[in-house]
């Protein structure tokens, strides 16, 4: 497959354009990335940045390698980057683009549903409630379902969830 630089797509990164453009591909981010280490390089922040610079829409918005969803947002790459590239913020944007394209790990949608419905991403299980009791910890309050829904509606989250 021959890849093509998509100059139009590249403009997607306007908000981050300065920091993205500054990348000179030294690899300081990837060499120190714990996820990259764990995945044996399947996940590689440098390659994602390179794909952004080249506007490789296909690469970025499908779930092919390099997969932006594996980033754990630990910020080590941002810390190390000698050129001040805000990698994790750029990755957030890439994730949004993925979602828009309908290509994202289903687990994230399930999580979103959970927040919409129960007000938390990880609902309290009975086991946890019992353990808290045993430890003498106060009973966890559940957030107001309607308030969360209002918030999510007003911020466009629900609409987005429905559209994808």
């Amino acid at each position: 497959m021959t890849l093509k630089i998509d100059f139009g797509f590249r403009k997607q990164f306007k908000t981050y354009k300065f920091s993205l453009n500054y990348c000179y591909q030294c690899g300081t981010c990837s060499g120190g990335c714990p996820v990259a280490k764990l995945t044996n390089g399947d996940y590689n922040p440098r390659k994602i940045i390179e794909a952004c610079i080249l506007g490789l829409k296909e690469k970025l918005t499908t779930l092919l390698e390099p997969n932006v969803w594996q980033c754990s947002t630990c910020q080590k790459c941002v810390e190390y980057c000698p050129q001040g590239v805000e990698l994790t913020e750029i990755f957030d944007h890439v994730k949004n683009l993925c979602v828009e394209a309908g290509n994202y790990p289903q687990a994230y949608k399930a999580q979103g549903e959970a927040i919409r419905e129960k007000g938390s991403a990880i609902p309290m299980s009975n086991a946890i409630i019992k353990r808290r009791e045993r430890l003498g910890l106060p009973v966890m309050k559940t957030a107001s379902h309607s308030e969360i829904q209002t918030l999510l509606r007003e911020t466009g989250f629900i609409k987005k969830m429905e559209s994808i």
């Binding site: 030294c26 690899g27 990837s30 060499g31 120190g32 990335c33 590689n44 000698p82």
Partner: protein, 438 residues
């Protein structure tokens, strides 16, 4: 041609030396101001120089002697500029000469005092890798070849204000009665018609890059430390060995752009690291043909005459490997062997590599007194504290009659420094002839 004008050159490294020699040969009187006890500067600390690998001190040494012997040059060592003001047709420069406590014309450099001196001090010239005494010769081939006493560490001098009168062993042993504890710092005023700044550079402290653990790991050293370690007259007599266990390394990593091309530290490129690291790797292999080197880089910058060929030779003949990709972090194993974590960008592989020694190509930064000097001289610095020039006038500072050459205006290699030094001599001569004090 006899000229009445005099010119002051500040900084006694290769740039200052060359500028002084050229001006002296043009018939000007030159006052050469050097803050250390001997002239020679950074070049004296280097082992060899690229791309010909001639021994640095071998090609510098004759210039030091020429400078010392030239009837038109007056050397002022241990001296620093205090203030500068403009007079009619010249400047008025106040220079503080720190007390050497040794009579320059009497000392014969016999070394008896050094033997007797009881106080050991970390040697700055040898990048603190060796001890020297409180009375010392700045370096073996140094000019002038006379001792100096380090006031801070000298037992006698440092206890004097406590009312104690102790030691004075050097004084007792000196065959020439050259020790003079009564010397005091002296301020003298000079009236040069023009001034050349050649204050050079210092090395960026890599502790500012936390992931390299320079301060913590003994086998992670800087380029200048490496130069001293591999130099025949250095702390190990030229035996390349690790600081942790004195073992000779077999695998060395050279990391480029340490503090350079880095917006949190020095935004600029230090110009010479690609080639000097190549040189250092070649030297390692010359010492021991089993040594393998790895140079981690972003862009290879070898545009000078013969530099590209030098790099080709390093690859083909000296087992020097160039790895595109900067080392992200360094850890160590139980034997203090540095472990490097990096991505090999050519193959996109994430790698670790265990080596015996890491040499950091630390950025070149302006010398520490430059702000004070610039302020007292009324010249502008650029955003990095290098002396400001414009491309069309690479030798002029922002003040008339004050010129600049060498690494105090931008990181540069020896040939460029020498070239600029001669250029500065031409401009200062031109200026001084047009603004004579008559």
């Amino acid at each position: 041609m006899e000229k009445e004008s005099s010119i002051m050159v500040i900084g006694g490294g290769i740039a200052g030396i060359q500028a002084s020699l050229d001006l002296a040969n043009l018939g000007f009187h030159v006052d050469l101001i050097e803050k250390e006890p001997c002239i020679g500067g950074r070049m004296a600390q280097l082992d060899k120089t690229f791309p010909t690998n001639d021994c640095s001190i071998c090609i510098l040494s004759p210039k030091l002697s020429d400078c010392y012997r030239h009837p038109n040059i007056k050397l002022h060592t241990l001296s620093e500029v205090q203030s500068v003001s403009k007079k009619e047709k010249c400047y008025s420069v106040e220079v503080k000469k720190k007390a050497r406590f040794v009579k320059e014309d009497a000392c014969i450099n016999c070394g008896l005092c050094i033997e007797k001196c009881p106080t050991k001090v970390n040697d700055k010239f040898d990048m603190y890798l060796r001890k020297r005494k409180a009375i010392y010769l700045y370096y073996l081939q140094g000019v002038p070849a006379v001792m100096a006493i380090d006031k801070e560490h000298c037992l006698y001098l440092s206890n004097l204000d406590k009312g104690k009168d102790i030691c004075r062993q050097c004084e007792n042993v000196c065959p020439k009665e050259a020790i003079d504890f009564s010397q005091e710092d002296q301020i003298s005023t000079f009236n040069p018609n023009a001034i050349i700044l050649a204050t050079g550079f210092r090395q960026f402290n890599p502790s500012n890059i936390p992931q390299y653990k320079y301060a913590e790991f003994r086998n992670v050293i800087t380029g200048l430390e490496y130069e001293r370690l591999i130099c025949a007259s250095g702390p190990t007599n030229g035996h390349l060995e690790r600081l942790s266990d004195k073992k000779p390394p077999k695998k060395i990593a050279f990391i480029q752009c340490v503090g350079s091309r880095d917006i949190k530290n020095q935004k600029y490129c230090s110009s010479v690291c690609c080639t000097y690291s190549t040189k250092e790797a070649i030297l390692a292999n010359e010492h021991d043909s089993e040594i393998q080197s790895f140079i981690f880089y972003i862009d290879i910058r070898a545009a000078g005459k013969g530099f590209q060929k030098y790099i080709e030779r390093a690859k083909q003949e000296y087992q020097v490997n160039y790895v595109k990709g900067i080392v992200s972090e360094i850890k160590i194993d139980e034997n203090e062997n540095p472990i490097l974590y990096y991505e090999n960008i050519a193959s996109s592989e994430l790698c670790t590599m265990t080596v015996d020694l890491v040499v950091l190509a630390s950025a070149m930064i302006p010398s520490d007194n430059i702000e004070y000097l610039a302020e007292s001289m009324g010249i502008e610095l650029d955003e990095f504290n290098f002396i400001k020039t414009v491309p069309s006038e690479p030798i002029k500072t922002t003040r008339k009659g004050i010129f600049v050459c060498g690494a105090c205006k931008e990181p540069m290699d020896i040939p460029s420094s020498v070239t600029e030094a001669s250029a500065a001599a031409a401009q200062a001569a031109q200026y001084a002839s047009q603004n004579k004090g008559d």
